[in-house]
C-alpha cells in the first residue's frame, strides 16, 4: 500500500513539475515527417530528425523544465500515407507539431489534417507556394523556401543574362506544376518566352527521351522543374547527350547541396540555383554545420534541415512565451507576432499568410579546382533581400489576408 502511495506521489510530483505551463499530455511532442527512404531521403530524412533534436537541445528545453520529445516518420512521398500518419500522430500519440514534410503533394494533405485538428505545421521541406497561397492555413508556417522564391531567384537571374527562351522538364505532380507555373510567370514577366514543356512521370530515372524533346525545341534554357534524384539524373543525362555542349543551358530550379555532392563538381560546375541556406556562408552557419555533420554521416546540412532546426527553435520560443501548446492557432499567431532570430537565417519575420521571410541566395557550383575541402562546393553570387525574395502578400490569393 505504501508503495502505491509513494508511486502516486511521485507521479503527481512529475505531473506538477510543469504545473505553471499547460502542455498537452505534459510533453511537447514534435513529429518530424519526411521521406526517410526514397528519393528525397538525403534532402532531409533522418537528418531532419537530427536537426529537430539539435534545436531542442540548443533551446535548452530541459533546463527550462520543458519536456520535449522528437519522433520521426516516413511518409514515402505518398499523400495518403502522410495524412494518415498525421491523423494517428495527433489523435493517438499526442503530437503537437508536425515539422518538415517535403514533397508538396503530401504537405498539402497534411496541411488539411493539421488545420482540422488545430495543431501546428512547420513546413520546411515542401516547395509549393500554394501553402501560403490558396491553401494557406492559420496553423501553418512555411519556413525555408517556396516555388515562387526559387523561380524568382534563378529564373530572373537567367533571363537577365540572356536565357530568354525556355523549355520545361516538369515532374508530374503538385510540386513540379507549381514550380513550372511560378518560373514561367517570372520568365514572361522579365521578357522571356516559354516555348514548350513536357510532364515527366514521377518518380522517373530515364530523362533522355524528354531531354531530346527539349533539345529539338531549340530553347536556350531547359528548366528542370524537378528535385533530388530526378534532377541529378537529368543533369547527368543532359551532359551525356551533348545537350550542354550544343549551346543549350540547364537551369536547376530546385537543387540541394546533396545533389551537387552526388553529381560531383566536374558534372555540376557552373550550375546556378537559389537556396535559403549554405553552410559555408558565415560563422554561425559554419558552426551549425560542423556540429551537425558528425551526427549525420558527415553530411553538411541542406537548407531543408536548416529550416527544420530554425523553425523548431522559433516554435519552442513561442510555446515558452505562451506557456501552452494545445491551441495550434494561438501558437502560430504567437510565432507570427514574435520576430524570428536564429543563427542560420538571421533576423526575420513571419507574415500573416504563414510565409517566413528571410534573405535567399543565388549560388553557383564551383569548378573542381576552386574547391579546397570536402563539401566546399558553392559560392554566393548574389543575396536576394527578404523583401524581394518572396511573393508579395497581396498576390498569393490567401484567404487569411484581408482586402
Amino acid at each position: 500500500m505504501q508503495k502505491v502511495i509513494a508511486l502516486s506521489a511521485l507521479a503527481l510530483a512529475l505531473a506538477c513539475g510543469t504545473a505553471h505551463a499547460q502542455y498537452s499530455g505534459g510533453v511537447i511532442k514534435i513529429g518530424v515527417m519526411n521521406d526517410m527512404s526514397g528519393v528525397y531521403a538525403d534532402v532531409s530524412g533522418p537528418g531532419g530528425v537530427e536537426a529537430a533534436k539539435m534545436a531542442v537541445e540548443d533551446f535548452g528545453a530541459e533546463k527550462k523544465g520543458m519536456k520535449v520529445e522528437v519522433i520521426g516518420g516516413d511518409h514515402q512521398n505518398k499523400p495518403d500515407v502522410g495524412s494518415n500518419m498525421a491523423r494517428s500522430w495527433i489523435d493517438t500519440q499526442g503530437v503537437d507539431v508536425i515539422v518538415d514534410v517535403p514533397t508538396s503533394s503530401v504537405a498539402l494533405a497534411v496541411n488539411q489534417v493539421v488545420k482540422e485538428k488545430n495543431k501546428v505545421f512547420l513546413a520546411s521541406g515542401p516547395a509549393t507556394s500554394d501553402l501560403t497561397g490558396p491553401q494557406c492555413s492559420p496553423n501553418l508556417v512555411h519556413w525555408t523556401y517556396d516555388t515562387w522564391a526559387l523561380a524568382n531567384g534563378t529564373g530572373k537571374a537567367i533571363v537577365k543574362t540572356g536565357g530568354d527562351t525556355w523549355f520545361f522538364l516538369t515532374a508530374d505532380y503538385a510540386f513540379g506544376h507549381a514550380l513550372e507555373r511560378d518560373t514561367a510567370a517570372v520568365v514572361e514577366k522579365n521578357g522571356g518566352k516559354v516555348i514548350g514543356k513536357v510532364r515527366t512521370p514521377f518518380p522517373g530515372t530515364d530523362f533522355s527521351s524528354f531531354l531530346l524533346q527539349a533539345q529539338s525545341s531549340k530553347a536556350k534554357i531547359i528548366g528542370l522543374a524537378n528535385a533530388g534524384g530526378e534532377t541529378i539524373n537529368s543533369i547527368k543525362q543532359a551532359a551525356e547527350f551533348g545537350i550542354t555542349q550544343g549551346g543549350q543551358n540547364l537551369a536547376g530550379l530546385l537543387v540541394f547541396i546533396t545533389d551537387v555532392h552526388s553529381l560531383g563538381l566536374k558534372t555540376a560546375q557552373g550550375l546556378i540555383f537559389t537556396s535559403a541556406y549554405y553552410w559555408d556562408r558565415n560563422d554561425a552557419s559554419r558552426d551549425f554545420a560542423k556540429r551537425f555533420a558528425p551526427r549525420y554521416k558527415g553530411h553538411m546540412p541542406t537548407m531543408v534541415q536548416a529550416g527544420v532546426y530554425a523553425s523548431v527553435l522559433h516554435y519552442l520560443k513561442a510555446v515558452e512565451a505562451l506557456k501552452n501548446d494545445s491551441d495550434g492557432k494561438a501558437v502560430v499567431a504567437k510565432m507570427k507576432e514574435m520576430p524570428t532570430d536564429d543563427p542560420l537565417f538571421g533576423k526575420g519575420t513571419i507574415r500573416a499568410d504563414g510565409r517566413k521571410l528571410h534573405d535567399m541566395y543565388l549560388l553557383e557550383v564551383k569548378k573542381p579546382e576552386e574547391s579546397k575541402a570536402p563539401w566546399d562546393y558553392l559560392k554566393v553570387r548574389a543575396t536576394i533581400p527578404a523583401a524581394e525574395a518572396f511573393r508579395p502578400l497581396n498576390e498569393g490569393k490567401c484567404p487569411l489576408v484581408g482586402g
Binding site: 527512404s37 526514397g38 531521403a41 530515372t205 533522355s208 533530388g228 554521416k297 553530411h299
Partner: protein, 295 residues
C-alpha cells in the same frame, strides 16, 4: 523532313532508339528473372536489389581497388553471382517444395533488407560512376546524337541475351537444365548433380542482374533505390512475355522499351503506366503471356 502524327520523323527515330536502349535493360533483367523462374520456379523479387548490388560493386571496385569498367564487367557478375549462390544455399533451397508465394516473400524481404542497408550507409542521392574513356563522347547519327556508351549498351546486351538463349535452348547443358526442371528425379538417376546445377543456375541468373547493374552504373546514378524503380516494370515484361520463356523475355523487353519510348513522345504522362496497361490486356487475351506455354 516528313512528319508522323505531327512529330518530325527525326525526333521519332531518336525516341525509338532511346526506347531500344531502355529495352535492352528490360531484356537483360527480365532474362535473368525468366531463367530463374523457368528453371527454379522461384519468383526472384530480389532481382532489383541484385542489380543495384552490381552497380555498387562496380563503384567499390573502381573507388577502392582502381579496377576499371571493363574489369568490372567481367568480375562483378561473378561476385554478385556468388552472393546469389550463398542466398540460394542459405535460404532458397528449402523452399522449392513449397508454394511460389514463399519464394516471392523471402526474396522480397531480402530485397528490402539489402536496399535498407545500402540506404543507411550511402544515402539516397547516389554515387557518381564515370563512363569509361573508350566510350566517352558520341556520334551524330543525323537524326540524333547517340552517346557511344548507349550504343554499346544495346549491342552488348543483345549479344548477352542471345548467348543465354543459345546456352539454354540449344546446348547439351541447357538440355540437362530443362530436363532437370521437368523431372529432377529422373535426371538424377542419370548421375547428374541436380541441386548443384540449380544452385549454379540461380547464381547465373543473379549474375545477369549484376551485369545489368554494371552497365547501368554510368547512365543512372548508383543509388540504393535504382533496382526498386525498375523491378516492377521488369516483372510486367516477364508476365507479358510469358513466365519462364527465355525468348519471350528478350523480345518483350526490347518491344516494350520501344512502346514506352513512343508513349514518351505522344503522351508523356502515361509513359510509366503504358506497360501495365499492355500487361492487363495481354493477361486478358493470353493469360500465359505472349510466348508462354500453358501448363
Amino acid at each position: 523532313m516528313f512528319e508522323i502524327f505531327g512529330v518530325p520523323s527525326q525526333a521519332l527515330f531518336g525516341q525509338l532508339l532511346l526506347g531500344l536502349i531502355n529495352g535492352s535493360f528490360y531484356a537483360l533483367l527480365s532474362l535473368g528473372l525468366a531463367v530463374i523462374f523457368g528453371m527454379l520456379n522461384i519468383i526472384n523479387f530480389a532481382h532489383g536489389a541484385q542489380y543495384m548490388l552490381g552497380a555498387f560493386t562496380a563503384f567499390f571496385l573502381l573507388q577502392y581497388l582502381g579496377w576499371n569498367y571493363w574489369v568490372s564487367l567481367l568480375v562483378v557478375p561473378i561476385i554478385v553471382g556468388i552472393v546469389g549462390i550463398i542466398i540460394e544455399r542459405l535460404f532458397l533451397q528449402w523452399l522449392y517444395k513449397l508454394d511460389h508465394l514463399y519464394g516471392l516473400l523471402l526474396t522480397f524481404g531480402l530485397a528490402l533488407v539489402i536496399e535498407g542497408v545500402f540506404r543507411n550507409y550511402f544515402g539516397s542521392s547516389g554515387l557518381p560512376y564515370r563512363v569509361p574513356d573508350q566510350l566517352a563522347g558520341g556520334r551524330n547519327l543525323g537524326f540524333m546524337y547517340l552517346p557511344n556508351y548507349r550504343g554499346w549498351v544495346i549491342a552488348f546486351s543483345l549479344v548477352v541475351c542471345l548467348a543465354t538463349w543459345f546456352l539454354i535452348e540449344r546446348t547439351k547443358l541447357g538440355a540437362y537444365l530443362r530436363a532437370a526442371t521437368e523431372n529432377p528425379t529422373l535426371v538424377r538417376a542419370f548421375g547428374i548433380n541436380v541441386p548443384r546445377m540449380i544452385t549454379l543456375t540461380y547464381g547465373f541468373g543473379v549474375g545477369l542482374a549484376g551485369l545489368a547493374g554494371v552497365m547501368a552504373a554510368p547512365i543512372y546514378n548508383v543509388s540504393p533505390q535504382m533496382g526498386s524503380n525498375l523491378i516492377i516494370i521488369v516483372f510486367a515484361v516477364v508476365v507479358i512475355g510469358g513466365m519462364g520463356s527465355i525468348m519471350g523475355a528478350i523480345v518483350t523487353g526490347f518491344a516494350l522499351g520501344l512502346i514506352e519510348g513512343l508513349t514518351k513522345v505522344f503522351f508523356p504522362e502515361a509513359s510509366n503506366t503504358a506497360i501495365f496497361v499492355i500487361m492487363a490486356i495481354v493477361l486478358i487475351i493470353r493469360p500465359a503471356g505472349l510466348f508462354g506455354r500453358t501448363a
